[in-house]
């Protein structure tokens, strides 16, 4: 039994839980995850953060896990754990909240420090007629052209499929480039 992992990240209310819920095999996904920081233990406090996960059975041998990261930066130590061994990740951003772009940028920079895994950006909530276009989101986040920024509607299955397929294609391309480099 092989388990493969894709991480879904993004700032608060970007649509991470929704995306995982839309595509997953299992029904209820959000679960609590107890986190104890040493400092916090000293203060005799415990924190609990919501961890989203979903699974997609690929075949008898392989299951794909989707993990949503807790958004708040104070949990960013969890990002490191979550990204170890992941195939790639999706950075979700709410296309109707320009006020969240700065935090999304910080989160992206942090992930790039943590992991080499390929990623794409999903400009979510594109079903809102007022949503900012993908090209504007790309420009404001400073995403270089080689990284796909895809339109996303996390409530819509075909759209979520498109985002995951976009990530997988990007991973395939990156793998091929790495192979060509090492050859």
């Amino acid at each position: 039994m092989q388990a493969l992992k894709i991480v879904i990240t993004g700032s608060y209310a970007a649509g991470k839980t929704q995306l995982i819920r839309t595509i997953s095999d299992i029904d209820t996904i959000s679960t609590d995850y107890e986190v104890t920081l040493d400092e916090e233990r000293q203060l005799k406090r415990e924190t609990t953060v919501a961890l989203d996960f979903g699974t997609i059975a690929i075949n008898d041998q392989v299951t794909l896990y989707l993990f949503g990261t807790p958004g708040q930066e104070r949990f960013d130590f969890m990002w490191e754990h979550l990204t170890v061994g992941c195939l790639g990740y999706v950075v979700m951003v709410d296309s109707t909240r320009p006020g969240h772009f700065a935090e999304t940028q910080r989160l992206m920079s942090r992930f790039i420090e943590i992991t080499d895994a390929p990623f794409i950006v999903a400009a979510n909530k594109q079903d809102d007629e007022a949503a900012l276009p993908v090209s504007y989101v790309r420009r404001r986040l400073g995403v270089p052209l080689e990284i796909p920024v895809l339109p996303c509607v996390a409530t819509d299955r075909p759209s979520v499929k498109g985002v995951l397929l976009g990530l997988l294609k990007h991973i395939a391309t990156q793998n091929q480039m790495n192979q060509e480099q090492s050859a």
Binding site: A3, Y33, E80, G85, T96, I112, D128, L165
Partner: protein
């Protein structure tokens, strides 16, 4: 459902650009401490506006003048909602939004404050705008704006422009801010990700934190979340065949 934020998050000139690109139709409401403005947008064009304020909410300006006043605001919260009924509103503004932005820019003491999320220094990198703009805009540039625009190729910094044009830094920065507001150029955002050297993921945080999976997580899942599925520290090298199998499965969902 709406586009929401503050002018500190997104300037009015950026909003107008986005409306043109859509093209979008709807109502933009801006609320500052003392005033309240409404801008009507039909098929990407600004067609009417009204600005009210004071204790009795008197109308202070309408049409072009109302928009230009709002372009001078440093901050306000905004909400833009899609509303197809604006299409049937008689247009009362004849100038295009680029012309309005230009007028706003001319009247501003400090154009750099119009886009607070782009700080402009001598090190700021610029490029020509990558966003499509309308073909026939009502904008006419002055000599300094032309001089600076003509210096910008891919990733030019403001210092280089100063040297090439001989304009003083403060004048150059001001003019760059004007060109940015009009949407002719854009800032190359420094977070742009350079190709990174391959380093194995760090695990130095392990001694600082302990992560305890809650009881209702299955052991496999907890293990997958924490140490990573696949083998050890390295990212699993998944072959093309397996990636294709995953893609087929997702397509079939």
């Amino acid at each position: 459902m709406a586009l929401e934020g503050t002018l500190q998050d997104m300037s009015l000139s950026d909003l107008f650009q986005v409306f043109r690109m859509g093209p979008k139709t709807g109502v933009l409401i801006l609320v500052s401490t003392a005033e309240r403005g409404v801008i009507y947008v039909a098929d990407g064009k600004v067609v009417d506006a009204v600005l009210a304020g004071g204790p009795d909410r008197r109308v202070q300006a309408t049409q072009e003048e109302a928009v230009i006043q709002m372009l001078l605001w440093d901050n306000a919260s905004f909400v833009f909602r899609h509303d197809p009924s604006v299409m049937s509103r008689p247009p009362r503004i004849t100038h295009d939004s680029e012309w309005l932005v230009m007028e706003g820019v001319r009247r501003r003491d400090d154009p750099a404050r119009a886009m607070p999320y782009h700080s402009i220094t001598l090190d700021t990198m610029l490029q020509l705008s990558s966003l499509p703009s309308s073909a026939e805009s009502g904008v006419s540039l002055d000599v300094n704006q032309w001089r600076i625009l003509s210096q910008i190729s891919r990733n030019t910094d403001v210092r280089t422009i100063c040297e090439a044009t001989g304009l003083p830094p403060d004048q150059t920065i001001r003019t760059v801010a004007e060109l940015l507001a009009i949407g002719l150029i854009e800032v190359v955002i420094p977070s742009a990700l350079p190709p990174r050297p391959k380093t194995p993921p760090k695990s130095h945080h392990d001694h600082v934190v302990s992560v305890t999976p809650a009881a209702h997580l299955t052991p496999e899942l907890a293990a997958a979340a924490v140490v990573g599925v696949g083998a050890g520290d390295e990212r699993p090298q998944v072959g093309r065949g397996l990636l294709d199998a995953i893609m087929r499965r997702i397509r079939g969902l």
